[in-house]
């Protein structure tokens, strides 16, 4: 079976996401992996949004741009997205659009036959279930479950709407819809990047998150708030990002694993707090979910434009770690690593994601929980005399006690301080010693970071270098280029600062694939390794990098 891409389009508030989520869950229930990706405007009503669902035999966690089935809830959406259909595509919309289309006036039918326009979405779900050759019964069960609290009338109206949509397409599509998705015995988790990140944080033992709502990071604290009773985590919406980062620092100082999450502009506000965590050596995990900037930029779109900003965030010099997970399985483990390393090195860990990663729902076969375990650093206070929070040590890491948990006093200071944590202006020895201590932790971190992942490198003629959420697209692009007679290998980074010790093979031609215009990874690699990078394939229009995009840009390059 070739992968099928279903594109659902409509105005904000029209139910595009609801239809998409129910349909992708239904497909997953049939035993097929789905990858869903949404693209939306920064508004609550109106405009034009889309939700695309890629269905395959095996999971390919990367988006397809072209649509095999386009379901458009209004004319504007039809006009905007019909260009993404192909010769064999089917269009389901409010009006006919060529031979291969089925007209369903969703709202009119809902109003006249079912009892209200509110049921238009359910008609659309029924239509798609039929077009994909799926079993309607489990979807009926789901509809019953969703609406059971609203009473029997609402349930039966929705069931009627579902069957109406299912019936119309069943009658009219005939040979147009060759797809069949019989139920099979296969299971996947279908989960967004934000949700998997939040679960990883919870598993890592995070007990405190303070954040200010900012797309696309908001889903993290929202999810954790919704499950706070099941995992025991305190969630607080701060008055601004400055408060968010400082509250998290306070919570961490007081003895729990704490985090915050934000996007570009909010991260900019947190930068002083990053420096504070560096200076006071307070463990802190910050998620930076990237979107295009500068300033407010494109709030609901994706980018990889803050790599160098994240690495250099914070005035002054101190050690920090920057991670960029590739998918939900990876981020689940990365968050545990993030908290472990933040605590071990008593510093800041920045986790770089992006809107594409945050909002997309991926199919994951197995999270392998237990592969990475929370590793808590404990210090026995009873054996200590003359406690010094910032005692100088060989590796720069001092015993970290928690205030109030022993007789020892814990003093943390944003000023330059002595070993006890008190303000100092002793430039002769104390200040440089403390600076060295903070910087030297980078040596330990360098030994802890993971090298990049190598994929099909040995036989490769060219090598794509990428980072973070583009991994799926890189792997798919390598497959597409194979058909063009080009052997493309991949070197993919998920741990970006400090950069790991790594030798790039000498005999390869390297291309950097990035969601920014400067080629930020490329610049970083050139400053840290002996490497020649032949070209840059970049995307900075707010849309995710796809395999097709990489392939096209590669062939277009001189």
């Amino acid at each position: 079976m070739d992968d099928i891409n279903v594109l659902i389009a409509g105005a904000a508030g029209e139910g595009v996401q609801t239809i998409g989520e129910i349909l992708s869950n239904a497909v997953a229930f049939h035993g097929y992996p789905v990858f869903s990706w949404k693209e939306y405007e920064s508004r609550i009503k109106g405009g034009c949004n889309s939700y695309s669902i890629r269905i395959g035999e095996k999971p390919t966690n990367a988006p397809l741009m072209s649509a095999d089935i386009l379901l458009a809830l209004n004319r504007e959406a039809l006009d905007k997205y019909k260009g993404l259909t192909k010769e064999n595509s089917v269009i389901i919309s409010v009006k006919k659009e060529g031979d291969r289309s089925i007209e369903i006036p969703f709202s009119a039918i809902a109003r006249e036959k079912i009892g209200g326009e509110i049921y238009a979405n359910t008609i659309a779900i029924g239509a798609l279930i039929s077009a994909l050759g799926m079993d309607i019964d489990p979807v009926k069960e789901k509809i019953k479950k969703i609406f059971s609290k609203k009473g029997i009338d609402i349930v039966s109206a929705n069931l009627k709407a579902l069957e109406e949509g299912f019936g119309i397409v069943g009658k009219e599509c005939g040979a147009m819809c060759p797809w069949k998705l019989p139920r099979r015995d296969d299971e996947y988790y279908v989960i967004s990047g934000n949700e998997a990140l939040a679960l990883g944080a919870a598993y890592a033992g995070c007990r405190f998150i303070s954040a200010y709502p900012m797309t696309p990071s908001t889903g993290i604290i929202t999810y954790l708030a919704s499950v706070q009773e099941r995992i025991g985590i305190f969630t607080e919406q701060a008055e601004d990002e400055i408060a968010a980062v400082n509250m998290a620092i306070g919570a961490s100082f007081a003895g729990v694993r704490a985090m915050t999450a934000t996007s570009g502009g909010g991260f900019a506000l947190m930068v002083e707090g990053i420096s504070l965590a560096g200076m006071t050596e307070t463990p802190l995990v910050i998620v930076l979910a990237q979107r295009p900037g500068p300033a407010t930029g494109l709030p609901t779109r994706t980018a990889q434009g803050d790599l160098l900003f994240a690495i250099h965030a914070g005035h002054g010099e101190f050690s920090k770690l920057v991670l960029a997970p590739s998918d939900p399985e990876d981020v689940f483990h990365k968050m545990i690593r993030a908290f472990n390393l933040a605590e071990e090195y008593q510093t800041v860990v920045i986790v770089l994601t992006d809107q594409f990663f945050a909002d997309s729902r991926f199919s994951i076969k197995d999270f392998k929980p237990g592969k990475t375990v929370p590793n808590f650093q404990t210090v026995d206070a009873s054996g200590i005399e003359n406690y010094r929070r910032y005692m100088l040590t060989e590796n720069g890491i001092s015993p970290r006690l928690i205030p109030g948990m022993s007789k020892h006093l814990v003093c943390a200071d944003s000023d330059e301080h002595d070993e006890y944590g008190h303000i100092t202006e002793d430039l002769a020895s104390t200040a440089p010693g403390m600076a060295r201590k903070r910087i030297s932790k980078l040596n330990g971190l360098k030994g802890s970071v993971l090298p990049p992942e190598e994929i099909s490198l040995e036989e490769a003629d060219i090598v794509f270098i990428g980072w973070g959420s583009t991994r799926g697209a890189l792997i798919e692009a390598s497959g597409l280029l194979k058909n063009d007679g080009i052997k493309a290998g991949i070197i993919h980074f998920t741990e970006l600062w400090p950069l790991p010790a790594y030798d790039f093979p000498k005999d390869k031609t390297y291309w950097s694939i990035e969601g920014n215009s400067f080629g930020q990874l490329s610049r970083l690699l050139k400053s840290e390794y002996e490497i020649n990078i032949r070209g840059l394939i970049s995307r900075y229009d707010g849309l995710p990098i796809t395999a097709e995009y990489i392939r096209r840009c590669f062939h277009e390059q001189p």
Binding site: F29, V139, E141, K142, E187, Y189, V190, I191, L199, A202, Y203, G205, R207, V227, Q228, E229, R230, I231, G232, F234, E236, A238, E239, D240, I242, A243, A244, N246, A248, I249, G250, A251, F253, A254, G255, R257, A258, G273, L276, F367, P369, V373, P374, F376, I402, P403, G404, M405, S406, K407, L409, V410, C411, A412, D413, S414, D415, G421, H422, I423
Partner: protein
């Protein structure tokens, strides 16, 4: 009652000799001694400025953070460890200027912390610029024509917003200030003292000028009456009135409901355990129908 000596440490004090800040430091030591708080049971949190150095001069746990940001840090600490006596030591520039937003929302949140604002009506550590409380017309280093924007009246604002404990103290009246501090620390929820602290280096008036005008609230004053409290905060007469302007039952203290409804165990204890419930949560993402 603890011994005052218990709170002494041996850090060199960087304030100007004779600064009324010493009075505030001694009043705080006295209050902690009176309450029988051992140094390790206390956590002082501060930002930047002369006031913010106080935690270094008193034996206790301390977090001396960023300019204006003490209240969010203290809030985080108090959520995690409600057994710590968490006190923010701040100044008019730190708390009302740089940290104004946090002060506003700190009052709304109502964490069980005490906020001591050393109000000297000036930026002292940066050498004499106007602060948010400098009176109109007073000339300062940057305000060469005199201050043109009116000062903030934060005690009045705090009362309006139902801050459960609002007081004014005077650094030169140690005994009274200590009494107010004891009551503030005992109060559950956010308690706030605006402490008049004349700046002997950059200020307009000598300490004696303030001493002549200080008037303690009388015995008959009822801090439970919000309207008279507001009057007291707004009054413009020849005196500087000191005492507890307003005290009301604490209402919903920040994180109390969390501790009652989500987990009754201290977060620090939970922190050492991995969340086995994750496996349940993960399965939510598989159960589609």
């Amino acid at each position: 009652m603890n011994n005052l000596e218990e709170y002494n440490n041996h850090v060199e004090i960087q304030w100007c000799p004779g600064c009324p800040n010493f009075g505030i430091l001694n009043a705080l030591k006295g209050a902690l001694a009176e309450l029988g708080k051992a140094p390790h049971e206390v956590c002082l949190v501060s930002g930047i400025g002369q006031a913010a150095k106080l935690p270094h001069y008193l034996k206790c746990n301390l977090f001396n953070g960023l300019h204006g940001r003490a209240i969010p840090v203290a809030t985080g600490i108090q959520v995690v460890n409600p057994d710590l006596t968490t006190i923010v030591v701040t100044g008019d520039g730190d708390c009302y200027g740089e940290g104004g937003n946090h002060f506003i929302h700190g009052i709304r949140r109502n964490p069980d912390i005490t906020v001591l604002v050393h109000n000297n009506e000036i930026y002292a550590l940066t050498k004499g610029q106007a602060s948010p409380t400098t009176p109109l017309g007073e000339k300062r280093r940057l305000q060469i024509r005199g201050v043109e924007i009116p000062p903030l009246n934060m005690p009045a604002f705090a009362i309006m917003q139902d801050c459960g404990f609002v007081a004014r103290g005077f650094a030169g009246d140690r005994e009274h200030l200590q009494d107010i501090m004891v009551r503030a620390i005992k109060h559950r929820g956010i308690s706030y003292i605006d402490i008049i602290q004349p700046c002997i280096t950059w200020g307009t008036h000598p300490v004696s000028w303030y001493k002549e005008r200080i008037k303690r609230l009388g015995e008959g004053y009822d801090p439970g009456d919000k309207i008279s409290a507001l009057n007291m905060a707004l009054i413009k007469d020849d005196f500087i009135h000191t005492g507890v302007f307003y005290e009301a039952p604490s209402g919903n203290v920040f994180a109390d409901r969390f501790r009652k409804e989500v987990t009754t165990r201290p977060l620090t204890e939970l922190g050492m355990q991995k969340s086995e419930n994750i496996f349940d949560l993960l399965s939510d993402f598989k159960n589609f129908i």
